[in-house]
């Protein structure tokens, strides 16, 4: 066991600026000479994870460098330490009745810098045991992790606006003579932006400066070993001044972290020891432009390259000097940048312009068709179904009407002659309700037959005429694809019968019913609206959610304006869905599984509360047409899929109160965006 103030911890570095030697002064910005503070100069910052009860970490040495260190315990009283990238040291017995509880114990392992120096050396922590509130010993067990980081704006990194000089005091805290105290700059990976000067205290105090002033000393760049003290008697102190030119004059480029580091080495009882003093400062540049503009022609621009324009807020409005060329697509990015040179450069603000041959901006194409299905029809023909929703084209009905598609474009081919929506001439089919914004449905049967067993591929687009009636310019959506293997005697949905007995009484086989309303509470007008591919839950005029499933990926989702709220819901509830409080303060719809309430929707607060959300492992086909189908252990929220002619459980509430989703939760700002 190694007690503090011996060995590694025999030479300590303290802040200055106290009014008396050993007085309280904790501010690194005020460590400007004078007397030694009682406060050690903080070098590393550390966070503890799975912290060991009964143990306190008082100090982490700079020799640890950055990374993860591990403290392990065994047999209630023993700990050992593994520094980042290092190897574990010896087990240390902390069963001593006094020292581990009062002064703490040094626990070391073999450390290694991830950059900046060579060889290995000891990284250590000082740990201290504490008793519980009743004064009992807390047995030590488990493993805890320390994330060790450099400290920004500590006495070594310094801080802009508070001067570029600091003074620390080195003190021999051990009972032995310390010799050969020397300092050198840490190699590689660290800014060499540090100068040092040694000063012996006079009657216990160093020269004192004010922020922004410099001491009357000559500073040296410690690129080779520089002696701080040939020897230090126990209790003897020596002042070390530090100076960072870039903090003073901004000599280097703006950066949020400018690291500096030196190592101090010394000898005690013929053993050599070291500590790394290190930190980081921020360097700003008020002249950095706030916005960087990158222009890409027919391609995304390189946001790491040289910007095409640089401007500040004061330059707005700002016209980009280069004119854009007709018949090209432009991807313009605006990247914001702060005074420390940090940029929002993963994407930036995006402006996309598609210029036609006249140099005018083309409108975005219509949205793609959804719920596309291609199936066999009679005699080798194929039948195509698809939907298109003009309400996706804009925020207002007028905008939606203006930008809606007006015809279908069908591209049909085979594996040997794949359709190409960008090159082929489509089969055009007019949409029906072009003066409205209600959804369109395509029901199309090919006029000719295809060879049996051939695979027919279909790409369906929605088109809008951006030209004139006389000279049309069809702006086409992305294509939605499907295919079918042709069967002259097509196999479709199975058909069968059931009977109650040997004869006479057959069971009526009910066809699946869609496009219907299922009331939860008719008086309060709370109901399910069941449509093809989507089931909507309405509370009068408020849409709680629209659960879509069975279409293309972009179609699927639980679309809602309501906020998910994690919380335990529990109460006895006999029916799967029931209405709770219903007044101006709260309008509740409760959902239960196996007789216990597990989820609550509050229409007033616009919240959905349950224990959690998760991804559904398997989507179940269902024999029930109930939009909320209760089975043992789950309440399935169902959606009708046209292609399979049956319902599927697109979401399920479990007995644990977790709502499993077969499609992602999609948060929308407005109700219209969910439809």
């Amino acid at each position: 066991m190694s007690a503090p103030t011996t060995a590694y911890d025999g030479l300590r570095v303290y802040l200055t600026g106290a009014s008396v030697s050993g007085g309280v002064q904790r501010d690194a910005r005020l460590s400007l000479g004078g007397y030694r503070s009682s406060q050690r100069a903080g070098i590393m910052t550390w966070h503890r994870y799975d912290a060991m009860p009964g143990l306190v970490v008082d100090y982490v040495s700079g020799t640890n460098c950055v990374g993860l260190g591990f403290i392990e315990a065994q047999n209630d009283d023993y700990v050992r330490y593994t520094p980042p990238r290092g190897t574990a040291g010896d087990w240390v017995d902390l069963s001593d009745t006094e020292t581990p509880y009062t002064d703490g114990v040094v626990v070391a392992g073999t450390a290694a810098l991830h950059s900046g120096d060579t060889g290995t050396f000891d990284g250590y922590v000082i740990v201290r045991r504490v008793r519980d509130a009743d004064g009992n010993v807390i047995p030590l067990h488990g493993v805890e992790t320390l994330q060790i980081m450099d400290t920004v704006n500590n006495v070594f990194g310094m801080e802009e606006g508070y001067g570029a000089y600091r003074a620390v005091m080195l003190r021999n805290e051990s009972d032995h003579l310390i010799t050969q105290v020397r300092i050198i700059h840490l190699l590689g990976g660290y800014s060499d932006d540090i100068r040092v000067a040694v000063q012996s205290p006079y009657e216990g105090a160093l020269e004192t400066i004010l922020p922004g002033q410099s001491p009357s000393l000559t500073f040296t760049k410690p690129t080779s070993y520089m002696t701080i003290a040939a020897s230090l008697e126990p209790g003897e102190e020596k002042g070390l001044w530090l100076y960072r030119p870039s903090i003073k004059s901004g000599l280097v480029a703006a950066t949020p972290y400018s690291h500096v580091g030196c190592k101090i080495i010394w000898t005690s009882e013929e053993e050599s020891y070291r500590e790394h003093i290190r930190g980081a400062g921020r360097i700003s540049d008020a002249t950095l432009p706030k916005y960087l503009v990158f222009v890409g022609q027919d391609a995304a621009p390189d946001l790491q390259g040289t910007p095409d324009y640089e401007l500040d807020e004061a330059d707005l409005p700002y016209t980009l000097t280069s004119a854009l060329s007709a018949d090209h697509d432009y991807d313009i990015r605006i990247v914001s940048q702060n005074k420390h040179g940090v940029r929002d450069d993963d994407e930036g603000q995006i402006i996309v312009l598609r210029l036609n041959a006249s140099g005018d901006v083309e409108e975005d194409p219509p949205s793609a068709p959804y719920l596309v299905s291609v199936e066999n029809d009679a005699d080798g023909k194929i039948h195509i179904e698809a939907f298109y929703d003009p309400r996706r084209e804009g925020d207002t009905p007028a905008e939606q009407l203006d930008l809606r598609a007006t015809r279908w474009a069908l591209y049909i081919g085979t594996a040997d002659d794949m359709p190409d929506p960008d090159a082929d001439e489509p089969v055009a089919v007019a949409m029906h309700h072009t003066s409205q914004v209600s959804p369109e449905r395509l029901s199309y049967t090919s006029p000719s037959a295809y060879l049996e067993y051939s695979t027919v591929y279909v790409a369906i687009c929605a088109q809008r005429n951006d030209g004139t009636t006389e000279v049309p310019d069809w702006n086409q959506s992305e294509a939605t694809w499907d295919h079918v293997e042709v069967r002259v005697n097509g196999a479709g949905r199975p058909h069968g019968v059931a009977s109650f007995g040997l004869w006479e009484a057959g069971v009526y086989q009910r066809p699946p019913v869609i496009d219907r309303t299922v009331y939860i509470d008719e008086a309060k007008n709370v109901y399910w609206e069941v449509l093809v591919g989507e089931t909507r839950l309405w509370a009068d005029t408020a849409l709680v959610w629209n659960l879509r499933y069975g279409g293309v990926t972009a179609w699927n989702g639980l679309f809602t304006t309501f906020a998910f709220q994690e919380g335990d819901v529990s109460a006895v509830q006999s029916s799967a869905v029931e209405i709770g409080t219903w007044d101006a303060g709260a309008k509740e719809i409760h959902f239960a599984v196996n007789g216990t309430r597990r989820m609550t929707v509050d229409v007033v607060a616009e919240t959905v509360t349950c224990a959690g959300l998760t991804e559904m492992g398997e989507i179940l086909n269902s024999f029930s047409d109930d939009p909320a189908w209760e089975i043992y252990g789950a309440l399935n929220l169902q959606v009708y899929m046209a292609k399979e002619e049956q319902y599927n459980s697109a979401a399920a509430l479990g007995t644990d109160g977790v709502l499993a989703l077969g499609a992602p939760w999609i948060q929308r700002l407005t109700q219209g965006d969910c439809l």
Partner: protein, 174 residues
């Protein structure tokens, strides 16, 4: 030794689930959120909540020695060790002219406590402190944190217009 993020999925309004895989057999994963350790686990997925405007940088390693890349997050993580005689800790933020309590955390014998601040503004100095409370209702020691928040700036939201006559784009205040 390589970890690949295989799936990133939004599972709630503010929640994303990350799934990953490793080339190693049954490794331990070290998961970092915005450069800070978020967990050590042998599971291959984890969910994270974000605040409005917050960006999420997730890095996963199967090597304890790996160091996460540099990120510029907009939260401060406050950590403190248990104080003798404390029954609770009050986390406060200095706003305008007064300290405002953001959270009161009970002392539960855990030994070490962590608090993540709200999403903070870029290029702004903040003062936070943790005040220990005794069983007698007396405030004990105070631990203060002062930090200039330097984070990835907010996305630009400039207005713009295009003049088809001149072929030029004009940017304006958003």
């Amino acid at each position: 030794m390589a970890v690949t993020i295989t799936d990133t999925r939004q599972i709630g309004p503010r929640t994303w689930t990350f799934t990953w895989a490793s080339s190693l057999t049954d490794p331990m994963f070290y998961v970092y959120r915005n450069g800070l350790l978020a967990g050590i686990t042998n599971h291959t997925s984890m969910s994270f909540e974000v605040a409005a405007g917050e960006r999420l940088d997730i890095e996963v390693f199967d090597d304890a020695d790996a160091i996460p890349g540099r990120t510029y997050p907009g939260r401060l993580r406050l950590g403190w060790q248990a104080a003798d005689g404390a029954i609770a800790y009050r986390v406060e933020e200095f706003v305008d002219t007064a300290w405002v309590t953001r959270r009161r955390i009970l002392e539960t014998g855990r030994g070490y406590y962590i608090y993540e601040t709200r999403w903070l503004d870029d290029e702004t100095e903040y003062n936070w402190r943790v005040v220990s409370e005794s069983a007698y209702g007396v405030d004990g020691g105070t631990l203060e944190f002062t930090g200039l928040m330097v984070r990835t700036p907010d996305r630009a939201e400039l207005g713009w217009s295009y003049d088809s006559e001149t072929g030029r784009v004009t940017l304006s205040s958003g």
